[in-house]
């Protein structure tokens, strides 16, 4: 206890004397940045998950082709979860002789559990959030159905045997996106009216769903419970089963957040290491004096270790509190932007912050402290005994091990963490080698030029090791800053560009072969983009390599449903522009003759289909078998027509074919749609603008969040630069004083320091440009699967930024060195 008391007193004394401020600041900034990032990321993740749940209308959806056992709902309610139910079927709705197919959804009170319905009192008037569901006797219809049968609000329509009043226009259904294709215009009704319609008969295709939502832990437990009780024809849809394009967006957003957090970790670690080195150097003498005064190595090591532990604990508490505060501000900004409150953060990030501090101290502060332990007491008599150099292996080994652990932990993904770790380690080694080479080069250039030039370069040479460390630290800091600003911006821009503003927002299905030409003419006449349509044939997958495909062979509910359903197949000779062959090769002329299929890589993985497998299909009562000659990568964000399976044309040309097309319709062209449905009444037009709006809004929110978080990590980067430059300040002040004492003018002293600093800044800047380009390209290619072009501005910005950072420090350093009489500076730095 006495040791701890003394350690605390030493902590207070060192703090008061300003010895620990840089280290404390580094630790606090580290924890604050990481805590705010993790607190905030935690909330954003929760919000993203919650919003993704809106696409289901619940946290979990139990679906069945028969009424679900009421036990599922009872169990959910017993566990304190909210429930609602829906029944979906396709039927004709009629009004005054006009009939149109309608996607009927009958719902109970409480639907949807996640997200909100929006309705308007009439067509083309502002909508508002709906309070509840249609009361019995009333229905809400969407714009397309209202247009198709002229069902204005206030009129009534016939559905089966029932006559129901149209009470509102349904403008937004949060879970509409779940069924991407085959969306008939929506008719939303109360489940109480369903029996009187008489629509549910033997053989009717009806989907029954139980919506469940609630606390995350309870949901997970319920999902586990429910999964064990599923019967044939029953399935669970959780977030993981939601639409692939939304899932891809979520994954990528989480990777961006993970990346930000881990950049903050790297920066913080470097700052802590530099600050501790400075602390240690300034305490070599004190340590030797205390050894002289009779303190044992163990006692002194304990003293410093406890001092650091206490400092770490204080920094962790302060950092976590500050991090919490910062994320509140960040969240406030985001809430104002999106108008939706974020969920409360969990306390896990605080615990992570605490852990982080001690991991950083262990990896970055302990090795320099170990160096103190070996300082000889004789140093009090012979100053040149600077204490043995710390073991490179121990010191860098510990740092790299801790950093690797932190990176993998923060990245949340082994792959991402491994790439960034490899990137930074590679850059670090390359930077060290290049710095050393540059210093050797400087040595040969040192004999040229004036006094300041010679002295500045001599400094670089004399401090070769420190200069290398400094260039390395600066280069890493700058690399992170460039990654955070330029590269991050480019990556985000590339990502955002994947769903361009002019992305298709309408799909037209059921185009008959003889309608293609008149429809293309209609497009031309109405100023729409040239129509690009694709043939679509429905077919069932019968066998893979002559092994019958059966739902029982797959454990995943989604896969089971997939094989039970008919696929939308297409046929074409040319690879669609937005598809990419990821394995094998696109159809050759001989493939065309012999017959071949191309499969989307994701569905191939799900169904266990390999390149070269022979697939047997049933199309229009005919079977055919063809080999898989290639797998395709689809750009799900493009919102264009995509097919899981494409065949060579001769295989399917004679099968019953309809066509599908997608195009972009801007707001003012809305009237065109009415003309289209009047001219081609059989076509099904799917309005994707709502779905697209949801997807784009979500993507924008993610981008905003990532940008805010990046801004904060940037601050940590600046601290590293400060710490790196402060590391040699004592020595510079002393040397400047010495030069002044020997008669150098202020100008000569300042110029010599500037030469040294500018060389360091330029070298670090150039290296960081190379590092940021390389790491950015690596992340884009291997992790985010983006086509990324390195920004040439990096090569100008890196050195400029490096030069500017050190110039500021050079000025400050020169001022510190020149502002006091040489004797005072010499005495102070002795």
């Amino acid at each position: 206890m006495a040791h701890i008391r003394l350690a605390l007193r030493m902590l207070a004394r060192d703090w008061r004397a300003g010895e620990l401020k840089l280290l404390a600041l580094a630790l606090i900034v580290a924890v604050t940045s990481v805590a705010s990032v993790t607190f905030f990321a935690d909330r954003v993740r929760q919000a993203l998950t919650r919003d993704a749940h809106q696409l289901l209308g619940a946290d979990l959806l139990l679906t069945a082709d028969h009424p679900l056992d009421p036990g599922f709902a009872r169990e959910a309610q017993a566990r304190g979860l909210s429930t609602a139910a829906s029944v979906r079927l396709i039927s004709m709705s009629r009004q005054a002789g006009a009939a149109h197919i309608a996607g009927v959804k009958a719902v109970t009170e409480g639907y949807p559990l996640r997200g909100k319905l929006r309705i308007a009192p009439a067509l083309n008037v502002p909508d508002q959030e709906a309070a509840g569901v249609p009361p019995p006797g009333q229905v809400w219809v969407d714009e397309r159905l209202a247009n198709a049968i002229g069902a204005e609000v206030g009129t009534s329509l016939e559905l089966g045997n029932a006559r129901l009043q149209v009470a509102a226009i349904l403008t937004l259904e949060p879970d509409r996106g779940v069924t991407f294709f085959n969306i008939a215009p929506r008719l939303l009704m109360n489940v109480a009216d369903l029996p009187q319609t008489g629509l549910i008969q033997v053989g009717s295709r009806v989907t029954y769903a139980l919506l469940v939502a609630g606390d995350r832990a309870a949901m997970e437990a319920y999902e586990r419970w429910a999964k064990t009780r599923l019967d044939r024809g029953e399935g669970v849809e959780g977030l993981d089963n939601a639409r692939p394009e939304i899932r891809a967006g979520l994954d990528r957003a989480q990777q961006f957040l993970g990346l930000t957090a881990l950049l903050a970790v790297i920066l913080a670690a470097v700052a802590v290491g530099l600050a501790t080195r400075r602390f240690t150097r300034r305490h070599l003498n004190n340590y030797a004096v205390m050894r002289c005064l009779g303190a044992s190595q163990r006692q002194l090591f304990g003293l410093f270790a406890w001092e650091f532990v206490a400092l770490g604990a204080i920094a962790a508490v302060l950092g976590c509190a500050l991090g919490f505060g910062v994320q509140l501000v960040l969240a406030q900004g985001l809430t104002e932007f999106v108008g939706v409150p974020l969920p409360q953060p969990s306390w896990l990030p605080a615990a992570q912050g605490m852990l982080l501090v001690f991991a950083l101290l262990l990896g970055f502060a302990l090795p320099p402290l170990m160096r103190l332990k070996r300082v000889p007491a004789l140093r009090v008599l012979r100053r040149e005994l600077g204490g043995p150099e710390e073991s490179q292996v121990v010191s860098y080994g510990a740092a790299i091990a801790v950093l690797a652990g932190l990176i993998l932990w923060q990245a949340g993904s082994f792959k991402l963490g491994a790439y960034v770790l490899a990137g930074f380690t590679g850059a670090g080694l390359a930077f060290a080698a290049v710095s050393y080479g540059a210093l050797r080069l400087a040595a040969s250039a040192g004999s040229l030029g004036g006094v300041a030039w010679r002295y500045g370069l001599a400094n670089l040479r004399r401090r070769a090791r420190q200069s290398t460390v400094q260039i390395l630290a600066l280069a890493l800091g700058l690399t992170a800053i460039l990654l955070l600003t330029v590269t991050r911006g480019d990556l985000l821009e590339t990502w955002r560009a994947r769903t361009p503003a002019g992305a298709p927002n309408r799909f037209i299905l059921n185009i008959q072969p003889d309608q293609r030409a008149p429809l293309a003419a209609f497009f031309r006449e109405h100023g729409l983009p040239p129509m690009a349509d694709y043939p679509m044939v429905r077919g069932r997958l019968m066998a893979i390599n002559a092994v019958e495909v059966s739902a029982e062979n797959y454990s995943e509910a989604r896969t089971r449903r997939l094989v039970e359903r008919e696929f939308n197949l297409s046929y074409m000779d040319e690879l669609p522009a937005h598809n990419r062959v990821s394995a094998g090769r696109w159809f050759s002329p001989s493939d065309r003759e012999s017959g071949a299929v191309s499969v989307e890589e994701g569905i191939a993985r799900t169904l266990g289909i390999q390149l070269g497998d022979r697939l047997t299909w049933m199309v229009g009562g005919q079977q055919f078998t063809a080999p898989v000659t290639n797998l395709r990568h689809l750009d799900w964000d493009s919102m264009r027509v995509n097919f899981f399976v494409i065949a060579t044309p001769p295989l399917l040309e004679r099968a019953p074919t309809s066509y599908i097309t997608s195009f972009h319709l801007s707001g003012p062209q809305g009237a065109v749609m009415n003309q289209l449905t009047q001219a081609f009444p059989n076509l099904t037009v799917v309005d994707m603008s709502v779905v697209l709006r949801q997807a784009l809004a979500m993507m924008d929110r993610v981008v905003e969040a990532v940008q805010l978080v990046f801004l904060f990590a940037l601050a940590a980067g600046l601290l590293v630069l400060y710490a790196a430059l402060l590391a040699t300040e004592d020595e510079r002040v002393r040397e400047a004083a010495l030069m002044r004492a020997l008669g150098a003018s202020r100008k000569q002293v300042a110029a010599a320091q500037c030469v040294e600093f500018i060389a360091i800044g330029l070298a670090a800047g150039a290296l960081s440009a190379a590092g940021a380009s390389g790491i950015g390209a690596l992340i884009a290619d291997r992790v985010l699967q983006l086509d990324y072009t390195v920004n040439p501005w990096l090569w100008l910005l890196g050195p400029a930024l490096g030069g500017a950072c050190v110039a500021v420090n050079a000025l400050a350093g020169a001022r510190a060195a020149l502002s006091q009489p040489p004797i005072a500076a010499l005495r102070e730095t002795e």
Partner: protein, 222 residues
């Protein structure tokens, strides 16, 4: 008492060796003050380092108060120093982040003494710095810093005090004041004093002097 027998220090110098001290024999009685004089590089500071157990000899033994210094490990020697030894250095060696009072308290705190502050205050008053307790070393003059160093050395009531050129960084008048104070404290407490100096005047105030030349005692232990 301080006893050295056959004490030698040889260090490698490229492919050859450099003899710094050779076969030193000396004995300093309790309460005795001995000066070590000699030219720069004669081995004075090395001898002091060896006698205090800060450095290890190539050969020979040192006994402090009857304990064989080099039979102990590094921590054992530190513990012995804590019990027996005080130091005063040419460059003061005060801890910059600590005030005058805290510098004097430090050796007592390292010994876990509860009365550290009380004793340190009294000691600083004794050396005439009772009004400057809260000052940092950088705000004290050279003479004041050396007085703080004297207070730090004497506050643990050492039996042996090693002083390495205590006036080397001070002007003549200030240096004389410090030497007066050093001898006064030494006399008050009956401390054994080993004083390294190149100042003959200072050396003459000691009971005995040894002169080092070429790593040997040139004048023999008088």
């Amino acid at each position: 008492m301080v006893l050295a027998a056959g004490l030698s220090k040889v260090v490698p110098n490229g492919s050859a060796t450099l003899v710094i001290l050779q076969d030193i024999e000396l004995a300093v009685m309790p309460g005795e003050a001995m000066a070590v004089v000699g030219a720069s590089g004669s081995g004075k500071s090395t001898l002091l380092g060896l006698l205090a157990g800060l450095d290890t000899p190539t050969a020979g033994r040192v006994h402090l108060d009857g304990v064989d210094l080099f039979a102990l490990d590094e921590d054992g020697r530190a513990a012995l120093r804590k019990r027996l030894v005080g130091f005063v250095f040419q460059s003061f060696q005060l801890l910059a982040p600590l005030t005058a009072l805290e510098n004097v308290m430090l050796p007592l705190e390292l010994s876990q003494r509860d009365d550290a502050e009380e004793r340190a205050r009294a000691m600083l008053s004794r050396v005439g710095l009772g009004e400057r307790l809260g000052h940092y070393p950088k705000h004290l003059s050279g003479g004041e810093q050396q007085r703080v160093a004297l207070a730090r050395a004497f506050v643990v009531e050492p039996r042996i005090l090693f002083a390495d050129e205590p006036t080397g960084n001070l002007d003549a008048a200030t240096g004389a004041g410090i030497i007066d104070l050093l001898f006064a404290l030494n006399a008050e407490r009956g401390t054994t004093l080993m004083l390294v100096t190149h100042d003959e005047m200072v050396a003459r105030r000691c009971m005995r002097q040894i002169r080092l030349a070429g790593g040997r005692i040139a004048n023999g232990a008088r």
